[in-house]
């Protein structure tokens, strides 16, 4: 398809194969430079937020290794750009949903280290009061409406949240984060069509990290890019470099603006890669198999290093800014972590009391 034909179909950008995408094409190549916008100021904060997410997840990774975090933790290290780029355009009354790998989605919106740490430790002070752990995060006051580990489960919920936003009439939007694996679930496909028919302002964000657990997308789907499903449903879409936060922010910003102006759903595919195993902290092993050489290639596309390089080159941050920010954040992280470790567990009564709206009186009778 020519770009014009794509545009006629409402397609912003869609490669026939990811091999067509410049920055991702040659396996051995270094990353392309990130092109900053005329005013790059917001990306200084974006850099800091990406560093925060990575450092926080590294803290959790260590705690997994130490055996302190018991619940399954799916780390998004290497995938910090999509949530940060998208969140730059969100406001507190929007409604964001995630999945099993949502630390980044949560932190991009909230920055709440202690709430996340306490939750992964199953503490009563966690964002879900210790009832959810790493895979069940929520912070509605920041617009984070929940993440759960059933693959694809929150996609229709985001459609409904967008319908609610449309009914409210305040121009709020919903965001649904999910992975490439989730596009194999029926719930995803039903949701695309439903969103179109309801004209629900939901931004579907697929973080295509090319893997579902141990299986590469080439073993699960006929093509390695999933934006084609948006095309099939007449949803405007783009398939972009998911490690380029500037590009993500630009495209997400346009999509979200269109929705706030009364538009229907939009679809954004961010091609990225996770640096750790599917679950747990290990880099060298993934779901029981040795990691592929791909990891080394993708590490050279580090979304943080690329943004930092662009900002340094533009003279917006000092050369050692990443190290400085990291050091400063590490302090916050340690304080939050230690507090979370000291915090209490939920009381025994929580089990029944937190099941029903009336505090479990019904089930006890």
């Amino acid at each position: 398809m020519t770009p014009a034909q794509r545009a006629a179909q409402g397609v912003t950008d869609m490669p026939a194969s990811l091999k067509d995408l410049g920055t991702l094409a040659e396996a051995g190549a270094h990353h392309a430079d990130i092109e900053l916008p005329p005013d790059p100021t917001p990306f200084v904060a974006a850099l800091e937020r990406m560093i925060l997410i990575r450092a926080a997840e590294e803290r959790i990774a260590d705690a997994c290794t130490e055996g302190l975090v018991k619940c399954p933790a799916h780390l998004a290290i290497g995938q910090e750009a999509p949530p940060v780029g998208v969140t730059m355009h969100l406001r507190k009354t929007d409604r964001v949903f995630g999945g099993h790998r949502s630390h980044g989605h949560f932190l991009a919106l909230t920055g709440d280290l202690h709430g996340l740490f306490a939750e992964t430790l199953g503490k009563d002070t966690g964002v879900s009061r210790g009832m959810g752990g790493s895979m069940h995060l929520m912070a509605r006051e920041h617009g984070f409406y929940g993440s759960v580990p059933i693959v694809g489960a929150t996609i229709p919920m985001a459609v409904g949240a967008a319908l609610a936003a449309k009914m409210d009439g305040d121009g709020d939007v919903a965001v649904s984060y999910f992975g490439d694996g989730a596009t194999e679930e029926g719930s995803f496909h039903e949701s695309l069509n439903l969103a179109v028919m309801l004209r629900a302002p939901v931004l579907f964000v697929c973080e295509n990290n090319l893997f579902s657990s141990h299986l590469h997308i080439d073993l699960r789907q006929p093509r390695d890019s999933v934006a084609r499903f948006a095309v099939a449903n007449d949803i405007p879409c783009a398939c972009i470099d998911g490690n380029d936060v500037v590009e993500i922010s630009r495209v997400a910003g346009e999509a979200i603006a269109a929705m706030r102006n009364g538009g229907g759903p939009q679809f954004l595919e961010c091609v990225t890669y996770r640096w750790r195993g599917h679950v747990g902290p290990r880099e060298d092993e993934d779901v029981g198999v040795k990691r592929k050489d791909d990891l080394a290639v993708w590490k050279r596309r580090d979304p943080i290093a690329r943004l930092a390089a662009a900002l340094i080159k533009a003279g917006r941050i000092p050369p050692r800014a990443v190290e400085d920010i990291t050091r400063r954040l590490q302090n916050d992280i340690e304080r939050a972590w230690e507090q979370a470790v000291r915090d209490p567990y939920p009381p025994p009564a929580a089990l029944l009391e937190r099941t029903w709206s009336d505090g479990g009186s019904a089930s006890r009778r």
Partner: protein
């Protein structure tokens, strides 16, 4: 209708029309209520129970959908998380099973998973629509399944008034509720006052007929059979007490247990399969509590251990009647 205060505006309404009255009341009085599901723009699809609501309240609040049970249910849940009180419609329980994940693994657990403070006030209305040679895939009830799930309230109205009032109560409740109505009851008539707010928390099983010889326990359509059986038994001098369960989760066991303590005989009548079903729960509730006392005589009436048949010749055998209930009761008493 023991203990109900009748208002001046009381009128006789059918079960199907009473459901519609419940929708009308909710849509009229609660701007946060909307309804979504298959068939809502058809005058036919869900019987008389929603006719012309789309015209009365607009297609933005009465939303017909593609054939996508899972996403529709999930979308309703999502709207419920954002301050609305949606009612999802599944014209048959059988279709709703495609949305099992959203109901059981998502909605029912949402509050607990996120610490107890977040409500998911979605009402899932599914219709038990069986018989008439519709066959195995158009006949399931499976209320026992859903009553098994903590966090999910399950209601099953047996009377026209409950059809309306339990719908209102379900929608106004802050937990996810599965509301199951039965097409076989749509013509049941009852006199009732104008609708008003109803709290689900206060609702439980109800003794709808007092008796001393045997307790007949039913829910939804089987309550009607129990009532008819009790009437037949009365002509023979057998005094049957009828308990209408009304709310299956959380189940109000006390009312059943108290009745059993009085009659020492219980027939659990359930329009579902036997093994691990609601009738088993009724027997277990009575038996575990009574195990120190005098023996109580217990029996279950349920569907045979087979998928629903099509042929009317076999339907007669699959679906039991008030006569079957009376026969079993006589056996316990005799």
């Amino acid at each position: 209708m023991v203990g109900r205060r009748e208002r001046v505006t009381a009128m006789i309404t059918s079960y199907g029309a009473a459901i519609r009255d419940g929708f009308e009341y909710l849509l009229d009085n609660h701007p946060d209520v909307f309804t979504i599901g298959q068939g809502l723009w058809s005058p036919w699809y869900v019987g008389s129970s929603m006719t012309n609501l789309d015209k009365q309240f607009g297609v933005a609040r009465v939303i017909d959908t593609p054939v996508s049970e899972l996403a529709t249910t999930g979308a309703a849940l999502g709207a419920a998380l954002c301050g609305y009180r949606p009612i999802v419609i599944h014209p048959r329980v059988d279709f709703m099973l495609l949305a099992t994940d959203q109901i059981v693994t998502q909605a029912a657990k949402w509050r607990s998973m996120f610490g107890g403070d977040v409500s998911a006030p979605v009402t899932i209305r599914a219709i038990i629509n069986r018989g008439g040679e519709q066959g195995a895939q158009h006949s399931q009830a499976l209320h026992s399944w859903f009553a098994h799930i903590p966090g999910l309230r399950v209601v099953m109205p047996a009377t026209a008034r409950d059809a309306r009032d339990l719908l209102i109560a379900s929608v106004l409740n802050d937990d996810p509720v599965l509301y199951l109505d039965d097409r076989w009851l749509y013509e049941e008539q009852e006199e009732m006052p104008a609708p008003g707010p109803v709290r689900l928390e206060g609702q439980g099983a109800r003794v709808i007929r007092e008796g001393s010889d045997v307790t007949l326990v039913g829910c939804g359509y089987t309550t009607k059979l129990c009532r008819e059986a009790a009437e037949a038994l009365a002509t023979e001098g057998i005094s049957a007490e009828v308990v209408d369960l009304r709310v299956l989760n959380p189940l109000d066991g006390e009312t059943v247990i108290q009745s059993a303590a009085k009659t020492n005989r219980v027939v659990a009548v359930d329009g579902d399969w036997k093994s691990c079903g609601l009738a088993a729960e009724i027997l277990a509730l009575v038996a575990e509590r009574r195990s120190n006392d005098t023996p109580v005589r217990l029996a279950r009436i349920t569907h045979p251990d087979a998928p629903a048949p099509t042929s009317k010749a076999l339907e007669r055998q699959f679906y039991f009647s008030a006569t079957d209930v009376a026969t079993q009761a006589r056996r316990l008493v005799g």
